[in-house]
Amino acid sequence: MASKTAAAKDIITLHGSAAIVSEFFCYAANSILYNRAVYPEESFVKVKKYGLPMLLIEDESVKSFMSNLTSQISEWLEAGKLQRVVLVIMSKATGEVLERWNFRIETDDEVVEKGVSREKCDKEIMREIQAIMRQVASSVTYLPCLDETCVFDVLAYTDTDVAVPFTWVESDPKLIANPQMVKLHGFDTKIHKVDTLVSYKNDEWDEEE
């Protein structure tokens, strides 16, 4: 996928870009689950990725969920049908949506239709992803505490003409009413541009101060 040319730029194909984005999503989701304490700390294991110590969950069911997710996202990205991926954190007891991590994806249609490839330095993409991961980790400082047990879900916004595989169901958007929104960094592989946004429910405690 990446070949060392005389210039510092590497060639990125549609397939490679889709792989980068879906991998990013997997690590980002794991990182969010760890930082927001959706799952206990003990269930995570450290790996090295993007030049940072990233945490991946060990739990089998979540791992298989993630791997199914990333392979399907990768497929949709290659077809250019994916518009955004949303990780939703809900309260287990009430089912109320507390946080929404919104990854908006812009695909370069020319690449999807014609199969050309782009050039961008691999390292630069890594740096951009690193910045996002650091921001996710630091987000714990301003996001409201999640005191109760939470569960997460992932929604995929796709084009209407996409063929839905058996394993996916239609869903409602699970929006938050009157959310606070924080825009994080994004990254760009020149084929797919990913923007990150987190919206969360207003914490009543903070308002009273």
Partner: protein, 453 residues
């Protein structure tokens, strides 16, 4: 979704060639010239070229469905709405385990290993009925359910005071029973899962259970309802009855005191009643425009009350390939098909059909939905799910198609209308190619008209 066909009589011509109508770009509609002068800057040449060449290609290929022009028009509309950034929201079916050891209620795991199916070649859907039978005195009452096809491949139909059986494998008809004048006309029939017991609901609020092999009445259920029983649904030994009094009653047909449970919630006649495939949920639709979903294990309180339809809901159908998906169809003032996720109660999709929806049937083999309609076309529409693209429109009935039933092998649909005909359509596939070869192809010659009586 512009199939709103309630204006003029030359609509059929329009429906056959909508491409000529809808090709006129909307932007020039303000200019009222009698000669059409195109505005080149406003035209979408790419799409225009595609529309023209695609139409020509399709006429050449003999295997293509002849209703493709209407599909193309719909596809164009869909592309337009897509420009308004309408996207589809999907969630992965098999949710991961919740933290801290306690288990979520997982969705059915069995679907997890299935890969998305490769695209199959589109099958040919015959545009005309396979067979037509006369059904005199069927009446024109929207709220009744007079047709059902049992698992033993016998079709039962109620004509006024009499119930007839038609054996689909032999093509022979026989009279099952006839009720007295006072007991009123038959208002609903429903086969039990074994295919030999038939429940017959009457106008005087009684329900009779008949054994159709020996042609004997087994039981009469009295005292549950006060008015006619317009809808029935079996769930192993439980027979659920829906009445004009708005009550939904679960009857245990084995017990002497048969009323097990009574669900209250509807204020007007209960015209649609369907148990889910799992037998856990019951959907009921009423003349009060409300759909209730009842959980078998809970008490008399409903699980969901769905009030979005603006007209009577008789058409109800649980999806066979997606658990907790319910399709509902509204009557004359509503004309919509709505899809619901019954675990959350959320409405997933609403589709305008242009005509009252009298009944809905899901395909067992493909991801398709068949709906039957009334004024003006009296058609059966086959939709691809979930894109809701029209795959076929089957016309032939000259009055609203009130009742539909699906054959046990899932390939044929029987439709009965107030025009006193019962027509059979091989809309879900050809019987020979069916995987379950329970039904042999009927050896009667094509379009033979035989009388039941």
């Amino acid at each position: 979704m512009d199939s709103g066909m309630n204006t003029s009589s030359h609509l059929k011509a329009q429906a056959r060639c909508p491409l000529q109508r809808s090709y006129l770009p909307k932007k020039t509609s303000k200019e009222n010239w009698d000669r059409f002068i195109p505005n080149r800057s406003a035209m979408d040449f790419d799409y225009a070229h595609y529309a023209l060449t695609e139409g020509r290609n399709e006429k050449d290929q003999a295997t293509k469905v002849s209703t493709s022009p209407s599909r193309e028009a719909y596809r164009k509309q869909l592309a337009e709405t897509m420009n308004l950034n309408r996207s589809r929201i999907l969630a992965f079916r098999n949710k991961p385990q919740a933290p801290v050891g306690s288990l979520h209620k997982l969705h059915s795991v069995s679907w997890l290993d299935q890969q998305p199916k490769p695209l199959k070649p589109r099958r040919y859907i015959p545009q005309t009925w396979e067979r037509m039978l006369d059904v005199p005195d069927i009446g024109d009452n929207f709220y009744l359910n007079l047709l059902d096809w049992g698992s033993a491949n016998v079709l039962a139909i109620a004509l006024d005071h009499t119930v007839y059986l038609w054996d689909a494998s032999t093509g022979s008809a026989s009279e099952l029973m006839s009720v007295d004048e006072e007991k009123g006309p038959v208002t609903s029939i429903n086969w039990a899962l074994d295919g030999c017991n038939l429940a017959v609901g009457l106008d005087n609020s009684e329900v009779q259970i008949w054994d159709c092999v020996t042609k004997r009445k087994l039981r009469t259920l009295k005292g549950g309802h006060q008015e006619r029983v317009g809808s029935l649904a079996w769930n192993s030994h439980i027979l659920t009855t829906g009445g004009m009094d708005g009550k939904v009653i679960n009857n245990d047909v084995r017990a002497r005191s048969h009323v097990v449970q009574s669900y209250r919630g509807h204020t007007l006649e209960v015209c649609g009643l369907k148990w889910s495939g799992s037998g856990q949920y019951l959907a009921s639709g009423g003349n009060d425009n409300v759909v209730h979903v009842w959980d078998r294990s809970s008490s008399t309180q409903w699980l969901h009350r769905l009030e979005e339809h603006t007209s009577a809901v008789k058409a109800l159908a649980w999806c066979p390939f997606q658990t907790n998906l319910l399709a509902t169809g509204g009557g004359d003032g509503d004309r919509m098909i709505k899809f619901w996720n019954t675990s959350t109660g959320a409405c997933l999709n609403s589709v305008e059909t242009g005509s009252q929806v009298c009944s809905l049937i899901w395909s067992k083999n493909e991801r398709e939905l068949l709906s039957s309609h009334g004024f003006t076309e009296n058609q059966l529409t086959l939709w691809k799910y979930p894109s809701m693209v029209k795959m076929a429109e089957l016309t032939g009935h000259t009055s609203r198609v009130l009742y539909m039933a699906q054959s046990p092998d899932g390939c044929t649909v029987a439709s009965a209308a107030a025009d006193e005909t019962l027509r059979f359509w091989n809309v879900f596939g050809v019987p020979d190619k069916a995987k379950k070869a329970a039904v042999k192809a009927v050896p009667v010659p094509f379009s033979n008209v035989t009388r039941i009586r």
